[in-house]
Subunit: 307 residues, 2 copies
């Protein structure tokens, strides 16, 4: 029997699934979590507990939390769930096969949302019985801290439902007009990284200098205003129109001068060495903890990103 | 007589010069400001006063501040200054001509630092008598709030002096290994904006969706960790080395799929319309004030960016 209930299925419980589970539970939803790996539960539970603690810090005051149940049965996980968040590996055949199994057990009316970062709605929805209830909903890692969720939904009412759902989790839901590889954010990240790699390749600056320039320059500014708006504000009183008229041609020349590096073994070695130098002996786990602490501080300083 | 004193000359007092003047005075330096425009002083003084108030907010406790004197004589401005920060329009002949006049009046030993965003040390230093004491020191706008200063200096001792000088103003000084158009930050910004424009051009998302995705996704993350480091943390325990081995080829394919738009009149119109929609009736001045407030909040949340 289809009914709007309080249960979300989290399908695939790696880094992204763990983080979603913590977010969902932190906002009062019951979670049924499934993963095909052997003995995945212990690691999952520890990671969720740590992430949930961060969600509590961000929300400041106490809220009712949902229960998280793990299961080794996919049918058990999706039964009774009104929302199914899928976080399986980035393989079209694997996901298509998984979706057939999910559709067999899902409630009528349940939304199936894929966290895919690199695959598209068109590729993934091909063999679905209910394409209209399938969406891509790509979070930015880690989802329990990063506000962005990028959504593509073909059906207008499902689109509205998705926007309301993720906004209700205090996410910033951004809607795509059509599906595209890398959605918006990873396309932007990839474009920037290409030039970041080129700057190292060309010997203009080393890895840690590039990262520092980003963190203390454009990254900081883009955490406050977007790229288009930044040029509006850089155009003086005439704004973006003035900017495009006067500096559009010089931007096109700048674009033409940007690099298109090849990740040769030598260049990869320089990047790895540069990152190791920047890490200065800190492990990945330590650096992640520092990143999370920095994100928590940045989010706490934003009006309206947590409640 | 050359002596290390407390006076900085600010040459060119538009948006960037005003902001530098406030920063220098806020950190205790006396400022002598010069601009060739007619009746520039009143607007300059009002802008500096507003920016200085923001510097005070960031520094939290009271500090001794320098005096700011305006002058219509370039000679007066540079006489006695140990540091000369030049913020003239982005024209090689104009700056070369200006430098000849500056060198004629400057103290022996004074450093001449250009805020140029788009010209290079090599182009600008050609006709200088003291190339070794000339550097490019590009701030990210607005300089009194944004920590980044990108420096290129050919001379090792001047390089060390510049790093100490800007770090002393609580800036994050990033050193270039060689000079390049757009230094680091504007190359990265330009690369990202090219894809942001392409996403609008391809109809993947509209201007405000692209900006929102950036602000709540990669922008926020890059305000905490750089692009190279972000892939180190996205690579799991194996870090950047694992990432490059396993996902390097897919990044290269992603790079090949990025766009290379042309700023046609139609596309410019869509960008302008999109920015107007995002601005939702707010003037450039209002939006700048909101940006500054957001930057102040973000900076206050960072450890060690202000003191």
């Amino acid at each position: 029997m289809a009914q709007q209930n309080n249960t979300i299925a989290v399908i695939g419980c790696g880094l992204i699934g763990q983080s979603w589970a913590a977010l969902f539970a932190g906002y009062g939803f019951d979670v049924r979590a499934w993963d095909p790996a052997a003995n995945w539960q212990a690691g999952f539970e520890a990671s969720v507990a740590a992430a949930l603690e961060q969600v509590r810090v961000l929300r400041r005051s106490a809220h009712a939390e949902g229960r998280i149940v793990t299961t080794d049965s996919l049918d058990d996980a999706v039964r009774g769930a009104f929302w199914i968040q899928e976080n399986a590996p980035e393989s079209v055949p694997l996901k298509i096969d998984l979706y057939a199994r999910i559709e067999a057990g899902a409630e009528p009316g349940a939304i199936l949302a894929s966290s895919t970062s690199s695959l598209t709605w068109s590729e993934l929805s091909r063999q679905l019985r209910h394409r209209d209830r399938f969406i891509t909903a790509h979070p930015f890692n880690p989802p329990h801290l990063m506000p962005l969720v990028e959504v593509y939904a073909a059906d207008a009412s499902v689109r509205a439902k998705a926007e309301a759902f993720y906004n209700g989790l205090q996410r910033k839901t951004v809607m795509l007009s059509r599906d595209a590889v890398g959605h918006i954010a990873n396309r932007l990240a990839s474009a920037l990284w290409r030039e970041a790699v080129n700057i190292v390749d060309q010997g203009i600056a080393d890895v840690s200098a590039v990262d520092a320039a980003l963190v203390h320059g454009p990254g900081l500014r883009w955490s406050v205003v977007g790229a288009h708006m930044a040029y509006h504000l850089g155009g003086g009183a005439g704004g973006i129109e003035h900017y495009l008229e006067h500096l559009g041609p010089s931007q096109e020349r700048r674009w033409a001068s940007l690099g298109n590096p090849t990740l040769t073994p030598e260049l990869c070695r320089r990047i790895v060495d540069g990152v190791m130098q920047e890490a200065a002996g800190r492990s990945v786990a330590q650096l992640q903890a520092e990143r999370d602490a920095g994100l928590l501080r940045a989010l706490a300083a934003r009006p309206g990103d947590a409640s």
